[in-house]
C-alpha cells in the first residue's frame, strides 16, 4: 500500500517537473490555423445565430484555404522539421498531402453549400465537423508515431460517422452512419490490437524505432507478422479495400451526397497516407510480410471492385465499387515498395500522384452527380439518359471525368494509372509485372461501367419528366471549374503534379 502511495507521489512529482518539449510553431501553423478556424465557425452560430449561418459556408471555405499560406511558407523554407523525437514530421511529403486534404476539403465545402442550406439540416455544426475531420487528416500527414496516428485517425473518423447520418429523418442515412460507425470502430479495434502487438515486440511507438527493431532477427516473427497483418487490415477498412469494403456501398448510398464525396476522396486519402506512413517508415524492413499481403489486397480490390461495379444501377453505389477498384490501384505500388529505398520513394510518389489526381476527378464526378440529382431527385443511372440532349455541357464534363477515371489520355486519370504502372515495373520482379498485367486488364474492365454511363448520356433519349436544361448553382459551378481544369491540366502537363509529388518518405524519418 505504501509502495503504491510512494509511486503515485513519485508520479505527481515528475508531472510537476514536466517540461514541454520544444514546439516549432511555424511547423504546426497549418494545424493551428485550422483549429482556430473550426472554433470560429462554431462560435459564429452561437453569437450571431441566423445571421451567422448565412456566412458559415463561405467562412469554412476560407478557413480551409488559410492554412495553405503557412504550408506555402514551409514549402519555400524547404527544411525538414521533426518534433517530439521524430513523432511529428514536416517535410515535402507531408506538406503536399496536407495541401491535397485542404483543397479537396474546400471543394467538398463547395459541394455542400446548396445541399446543406436547402435541406433541413444543421448548417453550422456540419461545417465544424468537416473542419475537425480535415484537421485529423492534416495531423495524420505528419504523424510518425503509433499513438499520434491513432489519435489522428479517430479525430478524422468520428466527425465522419456523424456526417454520414446527417439526414437524421432518413432511415437510409441512419443506416449509413451506423454501418460506417460499427465497421469503423471494429477496424479501429483490430488495428489497435495489431499496434499493441507491434509495440510489445519492438518496445517503441515511434515508427522509426519500430522499423529498426523489427528488422533484426531477434524479434519474434509470428508476433510481428500478426501485428502487421492486423494493422494493415485495419487500414484496409478505412480505404475500403476488398474484402473489407462491405460498409462502403451502403454508406455511400445513404449518406448525404457531399459527405459521400468527402468519404470517397478525403477520408480514403487519409487512410492511404496513414498506411504509407506505417508501412514505409515502420515496416520497411519486413517487406517479406507486408508485400504479399498488400499484393493480394490490391489484386482482389481491383478485380472484385470492378466486377461488382459492372452490375450497379445506382450511380452512387457504382462510385463506391469503382472507388474500391481505384483503391486497389492505389495499393498496388505499395506491394513492391519494400524492394529498395529507391523503389519505396517511387511507390510513395506514385500513390501521392494518384491521390491528387483522383481527388480532382472523383470530386468532379460527384459535383455532376449532385447537379443532376438536384433536378431528378434520384441517383439511378437511368436518370442520366439523354443528358447530352438536355444539358450538353454537364454531359461533356461528366464524360471528361468518367474518361479520366477510366484512365484515358489525355485526361488526368491516365497519368495516375501510368504512375502506378511505372512503379510496379520499376521493381523488375515477377510479382511487380504480374500485378501490372492484372492492373492493365482491370483498367479495361473499368471502362465497361464508366463507358456505360457515358453511353446513357449520349445515346439514349431523355426522360420526359426532366427534358429541360438543368440549373447549376454558383458553388457547384465553381467546384466543376476547379476540378475539370485540374483534371485536364494534370493529364496534358503531368509535370504540374510530379513537380510536387516527387517525394520521399524514408529520408525524412530522420
Amino acid at each position: 500500500m505504501l509502495d503504491l502511495l510512494s509511486s503515485l507521489l513519485g508520479f505527481f512529482a515528475t508531472t510537476a517537473e514536466f517540461n514541454r518539449p520544444p514546439i516549432d510553431w511555424h511547423a504546426v501553423a497549418p494545424e493551428l490555423c485550422l483549429l482556430g478556424g473550426g472554433a470560429i465557425v462554431t462560435l459564429v452560430d452561437v453569437i450571431w445565430r441566423e445571421k451567422g449561418r448565412a456566412i458559415t459556408s463561405a467562412l469554412a471555405g476560407l478557413f480551409l484555404l488559410a492554412p495553405l499560406i503557412p504550408i506555402l511558407t514551409l514549402a519555400i523554407d524547404s527544411e525538414d522539421r521533426s518534433m517530439f523525437n521524430g513523432a511529428y514530421v514536416i517535410d515535402k511529403y507531408s506538406l503536399i498531402v496536407k495541401a491535397i486534404f485542404l483543397l479537396s476539403g474546400y471543394v467538398v465545402i463547395l459541394l455542400s453549400t446548396n445541399y446543406i442550406a436547402e435541406g433541413e439540416y444543421w448548417e453550422n455544426e456540419y461545417y465544424g465537423m468537416v473542419l475537425s475531420s480535415i484537421l485529423g487528416m492534416i495531423i495524420m500527414a505528419s504523424a510518425r508515431d503509433l499513438i499520434t496516428i491513432f489519435v489522428a485517425l479517430e479525430l478524422l473518423s468520428i466527425p465522419a460517422y456523424m456526417l454520414a447520418t446527417w439526414r437524421k429523418k432518413d432511415l437510409k442515412s441512419n443506416e449509413a452512419g451506423l454501418k460506417y460507425y460499427l465497421m469503423g470502430v471494429f477496424a479501429s479495434a483490430i488495428m489497435l490490437y495489431g499496434m499493441s502487438l507491434i509495440f510489445g515486440a519492438s518496445g517503441s511507438t515511434l515508427l522509426q524505432e519500430i522499423n529498426a527493431s523489427i528488422s533484426t532477427e531477434e524479434t519474434s516473427t509470428s508476433v510481428i507478422t500478426l501485428g502487421i497483418i492486423f494493422v494493415t487490415i485495419g487500414f484496409g477498412f478505412k480505404v475500403s479495400a476488398f474484402p473489407f469494403h462491405t460498409w462502403a456501398p451502403d454508406t455511400y448510398e445513404g449518406a448525404p451526397t457531399p459527405v459521400t464525396a468527402f468519404l470517397a476522396v478525403a477520408s480514403k486519402a487519409a487512410g492511404f497516407v496513414a498506411l504509407m506512413n506505417i508501412v514505409i517508415v515502420g515496416f520497411f524492413g519486413r517487406a517479406d510480410i507486408f508485400q504479399p499481403l498488400i499484393w493480394i489486397l490490391a489484386a482482389l480490390s481491383m478485380t472484385a471492385g470492378n466486377v461488382m461495379a459492372l452490375r450497379q444501377t445506382n450511380i452512387v453505389r457504382l462510385m463506391a465499387y469503382s472507388g474500391i477498384a481505384q483503391a486497389g490501384f492505389m495499393l498496388a505500388p505499395l506491394a513492391v515498395a519494400g524492394e529498395s529505398l529507391e523503389i519505396a520513394d517511387k511507390s510513395v510518389s506514385a500513390v501521392v500522384t494518384y491521390l491528387a489526381i483522383y481527388a480532382a476527378m472523383n470530386l468532379g464526378a460527384f459535383a455532376i452527380i449532385l447537379s443532376v440529382s438536384r433536378t431528378t431527385k434520384t441517383a439511378e443511372i437511368d436518370s442520366y439518359h439523354g443528358l447530352f440532349k438536355t444539358s450538353p455541357s454537364l454531359a461533356v464534363i461528366m464524360t471528361i471525368f468518367l474518361a479520366s477515371l477510366a484512365g484515358i489520355p489525355p485526361l488526368g486519370g491516365w497519368f495516375a494509372k501510368f504512375s502506378v504502372f511505372t512503379s510496379l515495373t520499376s521493381a523488375d520482379t515477377n510479382w511487380g509485372y504480374g500485378l501490372a498485367v492484372i492492373a492493365a486488364i482491370n483498367a479495361v474492365i473499368a471502362f465497361g461501367y464508366y463507358g456505360r454511363i457515358a453511353m446513357k448520356m449520349w445515346v439514349e433519349e431523355p426522360h420526359e419528366t426532366h427534358s429541360t436544361q438543368m440549373k447549376v448553382p454558383v458553388s457547384l459551378t465553381t467546384a466543376l471549374v476547379i476540378t475539370v481544369s485540374m483534371t485536364l491540366a494534370f493529364g496534358v502537363v503531368p509535370g504540374i503534379v510530379t513537380h510536387f509529388t516527387d517525394v520521399s518518405l524514408i529520408a525524412l524519418g530522420g
Binding site: 491516365w414 501490372a436 483498367a443 479495361v444 471502362f447 465497361g448 449520349w458 516527387d502
Partner: protein, 547 residues
C-alpha cells in the same frame, strides 16, 4: 526562329484541336458558322500538310525532319519529341487529305441524330489524335495520341451509329483499350530494361530514336520476347489481326459513314504503323522470333477475311471483312522483315486507306438512297445511278488489286516479298505463306466481283424501280470523292513517289545498329541459329563496353 523546324508539326497537331474547341464554343443555332470553321480548320491543316510535303527533304528521308525536342514529364524523362521521316510522311499526308473530304461529305449527309456541332468537333479531335500518333517520337507521347483517338470514335459510333451501335461501340473500345493497356506495360518494361547511355541519352528513356538505335539491344532474349508480345497485342488489335479482328466488322457496320471512312483510312494504320515504327526497329531479335507467327496470322486473316466476305449479305459488312483480308497482306509484308516487304506494306496502307475509304463512302451513299445494304435486295445500280455504279466498279477493281490501280502495288509486292524473306527467317515457311496469300487474291476477286454483280449489275428490283430518292452522284459527293479517285488512279500508274519516299527510312529501320559502333546486321544472317548467335554477340559487346 525557323518556322518549319519548330512549329510546323505542333501546329498541324493542335490546329484541329483548336478548331474543335471553337466549334464547341459556338452556339448550336449558328450551324453555318460551325460548318465553315470546321471545314476551314481541316483545310488549313491540309495546306500545312502540303507545305510539309514540299519542304520535306526527300534526299534525307531516313532522318527525322522538322524535329522538336522539349521537356514534358521530367521525372520519367518523357519528352515532347516530334519528327517525321519517310515512313510517316505518306500516312500523315493521307490523314490530312482524308479529313476535309469527310467533313465535306457530312455536309450533305448528317447522320441521325444530326447535331453537326458535336460530330464535327469529334472529327477534328480525331484528326489531332491521328496526326499526333504519326508524328510522336516519344513512346509516352505516342501512347497518349494513340488513345486520344479512342473516345471520339467511340462516341461517333455510339451516337450516330446504326441499330446495334451500343454493342459495337463498347466492343470497339474495350478491344482496343485492352491492347493498349498491355502495350503500355511493354513500353514501361522497355523503359526500365533498355540502357539509353549506349546511344548517349539518359539511361532510362522513352525516346523512339534512342530505343531503335541500339539502346534496347542489351535486353535479354526472353524479356524481349515478352515485351514484343505485349506490343503485338496492342498493335495487333488495332490492325486488326486475326484473331483480334472481331470488333472490326461490328464497328464498321454500325459506324456512320464518315466514321467508317476514317476508321478504315487512318485508324487501322495506327496499328501497322506501330509495328514498323516501334516493335520491329526496337526489338529486332524478338521480331525475328515472332515473324513466322505473325506471318501465319496474316495469311489466316487473308483467307478468313475473304471467306467472311463471301458469307455476308450486308454490303458494308462485306467491305469490313475485306479490310481484314487487306490488312493481312500488309502484315504479311511486314512479317517478311525485308525492306521490299515493308515498303509494300506502307504502300498497301495508303492504298487501302484510299480504296476502302472510298468503298465506305459509296456504301454510305447507297444506304442513304436505298435505306438498306442488303445485297439480296439491291441491284441495278448501273441502271438507276450509272455514274455511281461505275465508281463502285472502279473501286472494286482497285480493291481486288487490278494492275494500274493503287491496290495492286500494295498486294503484289507483299506477296513477292514473302518469296524471299529476311535471311534470318525460314524461307520454306514464307513461301508456303506466299502460296496461301496468292490464293487470297483469287478469293478477293471472287467476293468483290460477286458484290459488284449483286449491287451494280442486273435490273433494279421492283421495290426500288423509279424511286426518285435513288439519284446519281451529287455535287458534294463529287467534291469529296473526285480527289480520292484521282489518287487511286495516279498511284496505280505511277507508284514511285511513295516507294522512293519510304525506302531509305525503311532500310534504316531494319538495320540493326548501335550508334557509333560497327555491328553486324543480324537480320541478314543465314538461319535462326546464326541470327541468335549474332544478337548474343551484340549483347556481349554492349556489356563489355558498359564495364
Amino acid at each position: 526562329m525557323d518556322f518549319e523546324n519548330n512549329w510546323l508539326l505542333s501546329l498541324m497537331i493542335f490546329l484541329p484541336l483548336a478548331g474543335a474547341a471553337a466549334v464547341m464554343a459556338i452556339p448550336k443555332a449558328k450551324e453555318e458558322v460551325i460548318k465553315a470553321i470546321a471545314l476551314l480548320t481541316s483545310l488549313i491543316t491540309a495546306l500545312l500538310g502540303a507545305f510539309m510535303l514540299i519542304s520535306f527533304d526527300y534526299g534525307k528521308s531516313a532522318d527525322l525532319q522538322f524535329a522538336v525536342d522539349k521537356d514534358w514529364i521530367g521525372v520519367i524523362n518523357s519528352r515532347y519529341i516530334l519528327g517525321i521521316d519517310g515512313m510517316s510522311l505518306p500516312l500523315i499526308a493521307l490523314t490530312v487529305f482524308i479529313v476535309p473530304l469527310c467533313i465535306v461529305y457530312t455536309f450533305g449527309h448528317f447522320p441521325e441524330p444530326k447535331n453537326p456541332k458535336a460530330i464535327l468537333s469529334l472529327i477534328l479531335i480525331l484528326e489531332t489524335g491521328m496526326i499526333g500518333t504519326f508524328v510522336a517520337q516519344d513512346l509516352i507521347l505516342f501512347f497518349v495520341f494513340f488513345e486520344v483517338v479512342l473516345l471520339p470514335m467511340f462516341f461517333m459510333i455510339a451516337v450516330w451509329g446504326g441499330d446495334d451501335r451500343r454493342y459495337a461501340s463498347l466492343k470497339f473500345f474495350l478491344y482496343t483499350m485492352f491492347g493498349s493497356a498491355l502495350m503500355l506495360v511493354s513500353f514501361l518494361a522497355l523503359y526500365f530494361l533498355a540502357d539509353g547511355t549506349i546511344v548517349g541519352d539518359e539511361a532510362q528513356t522513352f525516346s523512339m530514336v534512342a530505343l531503335s538505335e541500339g539502346a534496347t539491344l542489351g535486353i535479354s532474349r526472353t524479356a524481349q520476347l515478352w515485351i514484343f508480345a505485349g506490343m503485338f497485342v496492342g498493335f495487333g488489335v488495332k490492325v486488326p489481326m486475326f484473331p483480334f479482328h472481331t470488333w472490326l466488322p461490328d464497328a464498321h457496320t454500325q459506324a456512320p459513314t464518315v466514321g467508317s471512312v476514317i476508321l478504315a483510312a487512318v485508324l487501322l494504320k495506327l496499328g501497322t504503323y506501330g509495328f514498323i515504327r516501334i516493335a520491329i526497329p526496337m526489338l529486332p531479335e524478338a521480331a525475328a522470333a515472332w515473324a513466322p507467327f505473325i506471318g501465319l496470322l496474316a495469311v489466316i486473316g487473308i483467307i478468313y477475311g475473304a471467306l467472311g466476305c463471301l458469307a455476308q449479305r450486308d454490303m458494308k459488312r462485306l467491305i469490313a471483312f475485306s479490310s481484314v483480308a487487306h490488312m493481312g497482306f500488309v502484315m504479311l509484308g511486314i512479317a517478311t522483315l525485308t525492306d521490299f516487304g515493308i515498303n509494300a506494306a506502307i504502300f498497301g496502307m495508303v492504298a487501302h486507306g484510299l480504296i476502302t475509304g472510298m468503298l465506305f463512302f459509296l456504301a454510305g451513299s447507297m444506304k442513304d438512297r436505298y435505306h438498306t445494304l442488303d445485297m439480296g435486295r439491291l441491284g441495278g445500280l448501273l441502271v438507276s445511278a450509272p455514274r455511281m455504279g461505275w465508281i463502285l466498279g472502279f473501286c472494286a477493281m482497285a480493291s481486288l488489286g487490278l494492275p494500274g490501280l493503287a491496290g495492286f502495288w500494295g498486294e503484289f509486292p507483299a506477296i513477292l516479298a514473302s518469296y524471299n524473306p529476311a535471311a534470318i527467317l525460314s524461307e520454306t515457311t514464307f513461301r508456303a505463306y506466299m502460296v496461301v496469300a496468292a490464293l487470297g487474291t483469287v478469293l478477293a476477286a471472287g467476293y468483290l466481283l460477286w458484290m459488284l454483280q449483286k449491287t451494280a449489275m442486273g435490273t433494279p428490283k421492283e421495290e426500288f424501280k423509279d424511286n426518285p430518292e435513288i439519284s446519281d452522284v451529287k455535287s458534294y459527293e463529287w467534291i469529296s470523292w473526285a480527289p480520292i479517285l484521282a489518287l487511286i488512279l495516279f498511284f496505280g500508274l505511277y507508284p514511285r513517289p511513295i516507294f522512293t519516299t519510304t525506302d531509305d527510312a525503311v532500310v534504316k529501320s531494319l538495320t540493326v545498329n548501335v550508334q557509333g559502333q560497327e555491328v553486324d546486321n543480324c537480320l541478314e544472317f543465314e538461319g535462326e541459329e546464326q541470327g541468335k548467335l549474332c544478337f548474343a554477340n551484340i549483347r556481349d559487346l554492349l556489356e563489355g563496353a558498359g564495364q
